[in-house]
Symmetry: C2
Subunit: 242 residues, 2 copies
């Protein structure tokens, strides 16, 4: 499915941003100035930072990767719930030639699927990106509302985490993309509330096609839970989606 | 990922049930009697029935398939949020040789991923099964909390719906199964809040391997959104999952 959305465009902006260049959601990339906002614009909380609902394992992994960020080789990617503002929606409509099928009053109520749960009950995750190695690592913890078989993470929830990790890897390398294919092999189930690490890498680029692969392992790396590959197509700005 | 869980075991029970044989969740299949329940056992509401949050398209499709059920060729599959009761958890532990990794006090708070949202905000779906044709049809509507790109359903949410449809098809044919592989090709994005139809069929059985495929189309069948295949492995009762 499509991986080009406001949240991802914003991630791209963050990657291009200079230290100290704080902006509100919807601000124009590269402008160096804050855009004027309508009344409903608000600063959003970055969800990819430690919360009380994070387990010890998730905090330790977070600290480990933040250490890796200190020399600039890795970057933490921020993440938001993304309640779309009027100005953001206008940006998006312009980017996609007005092809968004949802009315604006509903758009403002929509939530990014992976951030639509209350803290700790759904997807808790942070991604880190290494530009030289073209790798994205997602450290994640699936909450009690993501259950499939009793006591285990739902396969669809894991597929979702794989989709966003592979899609982010393609996106930070090539700009806005859409998922064309996902191929996922489930090896061993993931216990609910446990932490797993998704290691992804960009394998190949052919024109607008980005080939990405990943594996999902336990924190101690001893258990290979899942392997996956994805094909992503770079979007052409201004071209309708439907 | 695994498709064997209390909800699916319950679906199997319903398929084997005679008309008028109403039971509480956790009752023993084939016993013909209600099991004795502890105080926290409750009757659960079947989620695969019309609600105020359903769109007109979903209601019309539901009515169309309920008509097909009248001659017995198709069966509607009930679906529950599944707050596990003590007795149900004991059943599950016995089935999986005690391999459930979550403590009982947390198990009772866990929710089936696809039924964990408030009405209308997440996954709304009903499945129908045709035993002669070995087909399962899932009619579904993705709510405002399942957004991926602005105005469209998240790819992971669609992968989830495909997983449960293919898994249910394998499960009603062969009993409890686990997903070994999902291969999904995304053709055209699904507008948020629209209704789509997932048509799945059992293609082949080789020993414990069940091969299932599906396509996802718009209500008018004019738009092919997605195609997918799945490989599911029949579980052996009593064999540990991890």
């Amino acid at each position: 499915m499509l991986r080009s959305c406001a949240a991802r465009l914003r991630t791209l902006r963050v990657l291009r941003r200079q230290p100290g260049d704080a902006r509100l959601p919807g601000s124009q990339p590269g402008s160096g100035k804050l855009r004027s906002f309508s009344f409903e614009d608000v600063t959003e909380k970055d969800q990819a930072l430690p919360k009380p609902s994070w387990s010890k394992d998730l905090r330790l992994l977070f600290d480990k990767f933040m250490k890796k960020c200190e020399d600039g080789s890795w970057k933490r990617l921020p993440s938001y719930k993304t309640s779309y503002t009027t100005s953001t929606i206008q940006d998006i409509r312009a980017f996609f030639s007005g092809s968004i099928p949802l009315k604006e009053e509903l758009m403002s109520q929509a939530r990014l699927f992976t951030r639509s749960f209350e803290d700790g009950l759904g997807f808790e995750y942070v991604m880190f990106y290494n530009d030289d190695e073209k790798r994205v690592v997602c450290i994640c913890q699936g909450g009690l509302y993501l259950q499939g078989p009793p006591g285990f993470l739902h396969g669809g929830a894991l597929a979702t985490l794989i989709d966003i990790t592979l899609g982010t890897n393609a996106m930070v390398a090539g700009g806005p993309v859409m998922t064309a294919n996902l191929d996922i092999s489930f090896k061993r189930p993931v216990p609910l509330c446990s932490v797993v690490v998704i290691n992804s890498q960009l394998d190949k680029v052919e024109g607008r096609k980005f080939f990405v692969s990943c594996n999902v392992r336990s924190v101690d790396e001893q258990t290979l839970h899942t392997e996956g590959t994805g094909l992503f197509i770079k979007l052409e700005p201004g071209k309708s989606l439907i």
